[in-house]
């Protein structure tokens, strides 16, 4: 989701929380595909993902009055969706339902759960997106900082540290602008 879209959705959620019904169509139109994409990443079964997204959407609207304007409403919505996905998986486990092969393989290999993997992938994509918006010189400094010798050819260690500090500050600023948090 683009930062501008996210900000617009946050503003609409705040209006809806205050009782402004005119924000409802926009929030519905923006949240439904977002929740569906999110639950589809967490649940292998398309029908289950749709059920989870629907349940999350209804719960979100039911609790819309309690949305805190100071907090991220999109994160709140995704939190409800993640909870619905967990509930559906727990129900499936209780029923003894067959889990998809890739989920079983993941569990056998002691890797992250599908939910953790999806969240990690989303975080990686967001980090790459933020990095991509930096100047090439900043990207070069950050790449050098993650290298084995942690230095930039042709610069003194003190200059490198200063450039690294500035690049990190710019990266934080970009992240804060897009995601509203450090």
């Amino acid at each position: 989701m683009e930062p501008t879209e996210r900000r617009a959705l946050q503003a609409a959620l705040v209006r809806l929380a205050g009782g402004d019904r005119s924000a409802f169509p926009f929030v519905y139109a923006a949240l439904w595909p977002l929740l569906l994409r999110f639950t589809a990443r967490l649940l292998a079964d398309r029908a289950e993902a749709e059920d989870a997204a629907q349940a999350a959407l209804l719960k979100l609207f039911e609790r819309a009055s309690s949305i805190d304007p100071e907090r991220d409403g999109v994160a709140f919505a995704l939190g409800i969706a993640a909870y619905e996905c967990r509930s559906i998986r727990a129900r499936a486990r209780r029923r003894g339902a067959q889990l998809p092969a890739e989920v079983l393989a993941g569990a056998a290999a002691k890797t992250a759960t599908p939910e953790e993997a999806a969240l990690a992938a989303e975080l990686t994509a967001a980090a790459e997106e933020a990095l991509g918006s930096l100047r090439p010189a900043d990207i070069e400094v950050l790449r050098a900082a993650t290298g084995a010798d942690r230095r930039l050819p042709g610069t003194s260690p003190a200059t490198f540290r200063k450039r690294l500090q500035r690049a990190l500050e710019r990266l934080r600023a970009v992240w804060r602008t897009r995601h509203g948090t450090d």
Partner: protein, 180 residues
């Protein structure tokens, strides 16, 4: 679930959620009713006024959340005109020399004035929508306090309303003018 059905259910969930969040504001009307019955107000009058107060409180907050603090303030401000006339009447008349004076009617005016000042000052502090904040708070305070002032009859209620208007209007008007 079809998209249209999901949309309708989402809208219904939203409205029910708002109603559930606003519903607790009906409870203070029960307290007002208990107090009014305690001071001897007729049950039919108490029931109708308190039902109106409960419905109005819930409806205002159901419609817009920013009415919540105004409704709370109105309920708080209404305590003075609800209780003071009864308290003053319990003390009897004020007698100085050979003349006795009934204080109930002035009490309603003063209690309304106190409620109006509280509403006016708090409305002036409100971040936005001061006029609607003040009007909502004054309306709720008037309804809550009216039961106490009916001890003096309709003159008591009118006195309280006059006091409420006198207390709150200047502050609200000053705020409106300073913003305009």
């Amino acid at each position: 679930m079809a998209p249209i059905e999901l949309h309708s259910r989402a809208r219904l969930a939203y409205e029910l959620g708002r109603l559930r969040a606003a519903a607790p504001l009906a409870l203070p009307a029960l307290l007002v009713a208990a107090a009014a019955l305690f001071i001897g107000r007729p049950p039919a009058l108490v029931a109708s006024v308190c039902a109106g107060l409960a419905v109005l409180s819930v409806a205002l907050v159901f419609a817009r959340s920013h009415h919540r603090p105004a409704v709370r303030l109105g309920l708080l401000a209404g305590v003075a005109p609800l209780v003071l006339p009864f308290a003053v009447r319990s003390f009897g008349h004020l007698c100085t020399g050979g003349a006795c004076m009934e204080l109930c009617l002035p009490t309603c005016l003063v209690a309304g004035l106190l409620a109006g000042l509280l509403v006016g000052f708090r409305a002036a502090d409100a971040a936005a929508g001061r006029l609607s904040f003040g009007l909502v708070a004054a309306l709720i305070a008037g309804l809550a306090g009216a039961l106490g002032c009916t001890l003096v009859g309709s003159a008591g209620v009118l006195g309280m309303i006059a006091g409420l208007a006198l207390g709150s209007a200047p502050l609200l008007l000053r705020e409106q003018l300073s913003r305009g």
